[in-house]
């Protein structure tokens, strides 16, 4: 009789273990998916910038410093490899873009140019997508971290080799403000 009960208990524990393991796997894959989403949007921003610089050059070729900064920052962001480098380079790129749009404000002809308006919309949308992708990634990391550290799941996590992940954070506090470009 006791044997049956023990056997039943073992089966229950086994089932729980398997279920927890699978859910942890799901969470880890979500985190990876979130990261690749961010990557996709960052790359899209990189691709949009040359066109932006070309369009702006026709009107404000004399504002060389601003334009060159954007080009340099873009190259840096493309070349960055490690996570920390990437974060830093992308933040730098965001700030150079913000300066560029601030300069564009002073040139109503450039502001009203069709090509420019379209690019501005595209870049705004891409910045939003980057923000949303980061939001999704951080949310998933949050869930993974909670799952990995709570009791009793932490046993399964340790045995299965699941670790905490890092948030995609902003290094510079002043850059937490989303670029506001008002027309």
């Amino acid at each position: 009789m006791i044997l049956w009960i023990l056997l039943g208990l073992v089966v229950v524990v086994l089932l729980w273990w398997v279920g927890t393991y699978n859910s942890l796997v799901g969470l880890r894959e979500n985190v990876k998916n979130g990261w690749s989403q961010i990557d996709v949007q960052l790359k899209r921003r990189h691709d949009l910038i040359p066109n932006l610089v070309e369009t702006a050059k026709g009107y404000i070729a004399h504002e060389r410093a601003t334009l060159e900064n954007v080009i340099k920052a873009r190259q840096q962001a493309i070349d960055a490899r490690s996570l920390a480098d990437k974060q830093q380079a992308e933040n730098f790129l965001t700030s150079t873009l913000r300066s560029l749009f601030a300069v564009v404000e002073n040139y109503p002809n450039l502001k009203a140019d069709r090509q420019m308006m379209q690019l501005h919309e595209e870049i705004t949308s891409t910045e939003n997508k980057i923000a949303f992708a980061r939001q999704y990634y951080n949310d998933e990391v949050n869930r993974l971290n909670i799952a990995v550290q709570s009791f009793p799941n932490n046993f399964v996590a340790q045995m299965g080799g699941f670790n905490k992940s890092d948030f995609f954070e902003l290094k510079d506090v002043s850059e937490k403000a989303v670029p506001q470009v008002k027309f």
Partner: protein, 563 residues
């Protein structure tokens, strides 16, 4: 997202199971009742009739009815689920987005942004061409998801508010309740047409014949009619199962996605209290909208009956929850909405006479010097122009001619690749140029500043307000507004055929464009082509029309004009 995919799949199976059994149950019940009545009726009618009392149906008969009901239910199910989304979209009169319209592009971008925020759920966008404000979401069993908004909503809300609305609809989709709502509302909503048709037939037949033989046929028809009405009633009852709580959950999902409860509150307020509606008349479909298209006092009440039969939660409650999250109150909300409605600052006139939508001019490089500036139709006549000639738009980059889209068109016409000729201005006989006005491409004459607009686009342009209006437009609008009081005297426009314009697009027809008022309320004189539906506005007429309509919609602005 907290909704894992396994949970959504479980929900789906539950939905299918529940709805399908419900369907079989209804058919079974109605057919069983009908057969019961028929059996007793015909027994009473038969010649060797002996009164035996009310006869119930035997077991074998009941089982047979069950089988028939199942077959009919399967048929009904398959019929309604086939091509579900395209049919619903047609019923809602939704159209796909125009990639050349900047507002539609913005909407498409917003959908993509929210899609990223959900972790990659793919969603499509459609637009309903009506001036009222509303939004809906549809989903089907294959995973296709569609979000639709009205033109009015697109034009009147700012980007953050539209994002909040799209986030709300995405919340419905990702949580799976959009699927159950779509399926249940579509099950019986499509019976309406059949019922209406039958009603007419029955009324006609009834008057025509009452012969003996025709008698039982009519009874049969009435039976079918009763059957269908019962199933339709069941459909309305099914509303009971569309939970009111969906909207709260979707609001919460929207806030989780966009982190902006205030914008959603503003959007809800604007939709519910200002421009409610959906542009359609079917009441079965109302559940899929973010705010019930009809004013329903039932929605605003609590209690058992409203909880059962209402599909939407009270707007006040939803606003309360959101404002709590945003730590704001209703006065702040009203104030920020009113600020949003003020017309935007006027952009200074760049090209003087041409107004705020200048037409393109080019400088062309030849033999060491820059010639120009040329308008497009002058360039057409330059036969020394080759694809490698350097050109420069007035404020643009230097580029070879083949890279410029409009000059490209000239080369194509030369080579006979495209036989499209440039449209000519009906008054000035020079070619029209394409410019963007309120986010839509229209054709404009560089000399007289008249514009040619497709009829459907006029509605959109009227409702959008990219920029404010310069003084002279407001002056004219004021004059017309005052002149409306004396409008009774002026009911006709003097027409002389010789002065009528020819449509620039329909050159093969000898008839001219009709000279008419845009509408009796807005007495702007326009010219309209009866063949292609395009409307020609002379200089400033389109802007005055916009100004007038705006004056009617926002009394504060109207008062400004009247000052």
């Amino acid at each position: 997202m907290p909704y894992s995919f396994t949970q959504i799949e479980k929900d789906k199976t539950r939905t299918i199971g529940f709805v399908f059994s419900f369907l079989i149950a209804i058919y079974f019940l109605t057919i069983w009742l009908a057969v019961l009545l028929a059996k007793n009726y015909f027994q009473a009618e038969s010649i060797d009739y002996e009164y035996q009392g009310f006869v119930p149906l035997s077991l074998s008969e009941t089982l047979m009815i069950l089988a028939i009901a199942s077959v009919v239910a399967i048929g009904h199910w398959l019929l309604t689920q086939e091509n579900l989304i395209p049919r619903l979209l047609k019923l809602l009169k939704a159209e796909s987005l125009n990639p050349r319209d900047t507002y539609h592009q913005m909407f498409q971008n917003i959908i993509e942004e929210v899609s990223v925020a959900t972790g990659g759920k793919k969603m499509e966008g459609v637009i309903v061409p009506t001036m009222v404000m509303n939004a809906f979401a549809l989903a089907d069993f294959e995973g296709r998801a569609v979000i639709g908004i009205t033109e009015g909503l697109l034009a009147r809300l700012n980007r953050r508010q539209i994002e909040a609305v799209v986030g709300h609809e995405a919340g419905h989709i990702v949580s799976g309740d959009c699927l159950s709502t779509t399926v249940t509302t579509s099950l019986f909503g499509l019976y309406n047409g059949v019922l209406n048709g039958m009603t007419k037939v029955l009324r006609g037949e009834h008057r025509v014949s009452s012969r003996g033989g025709g008698g039982s046929f009519i009874v049969f028809l009435w039976l079918v009619y009763a059957l269908l009405s019962v199933t339709r009633l069941m459909g309305l009852l099914l509303k009971m199962f569309i939970s009111r709580q969906r909207e709260f959950r979707a609001d919460a999902a929207a806030v989780r996605l966009t982190r902006d409860p205030l914008s959603l509150a503003e959007a809800l307020y604007a939709i519910a209290y200002h421009w409610r509606g959906a542009g359609l008349s079917s009441e079965e479909l109302e559940a899929i909208f973010i705010v019930n298209p009809q004013f329903s006092s039932l929605d605003e009440q609590g209690g058992l009956f409203p909880d059962l039969f209402s599909t939407h939660s009270p707007v006040e409650k939803r606003l309360g929850v959101l404002l709590d999250m945003a730590k704001a109150d209703i006065q702040t909300l009203e104030r920020s909405l009113r600020n949003q409605q003020k017309p935007k600052e006027t952009i200074p006139e760049i090209h003087g006479d041409q107004g705020r939508h200048p037409v393109n001019e080019w400088m062309i490089y030849r033999d060491g010097t820059w010639l120009g500036p040329f308008l497009l139709d002058k360039i057409v006549t330059l036969d020394w122009l080759s694809p490698t000639t350097w050109v420069k738009k007035k404020e643009g980059n230097v580029m070879p001619a083949y890279e410029d889209r409009e000059i490209q068109g000239i080369f194509r016409t030369r080579q006979g690749i495209s036989s499209v000729t440039l449209d000519l201005c009906p008054r000035c006989r020079i070619s029209l140029s394409e410019v963007y006005y309120e986010g839509l491409p229209v054709l404009k004459c560089p000399t007289c500043s008249g514009v040619l607009v497709p009829e459907n686009d006029v509605q959109r342009i009227i409702i959008r307000e990219d920029m404010g209006f310069p003084e002279r437009i407001e002056r004219v609008a004021r004059l017309i507004h005052e002149g409306q009081k004396a409008f009774g005297q002026k009911t006709k426009i003097d027409l002389e055929t010789a002065n009528l314009l020819k449509c620039p697009r329909c050159t093969q027809y000898p008839t001219r464009m009709i000279h008419m008022f845009y509408s009796l309320i807005y007495p702007i004189e326009i010219d309209k082509c009866i063949f292609c539906g395009f409307i020609w506005f002379d200089r400033d007429e389109l802007e005055v029309l916009q100004c007038l309509v705006e004056g009617a919609r926002f009394p504060e602005i109207g008062r400004e004009i009247e000052k």
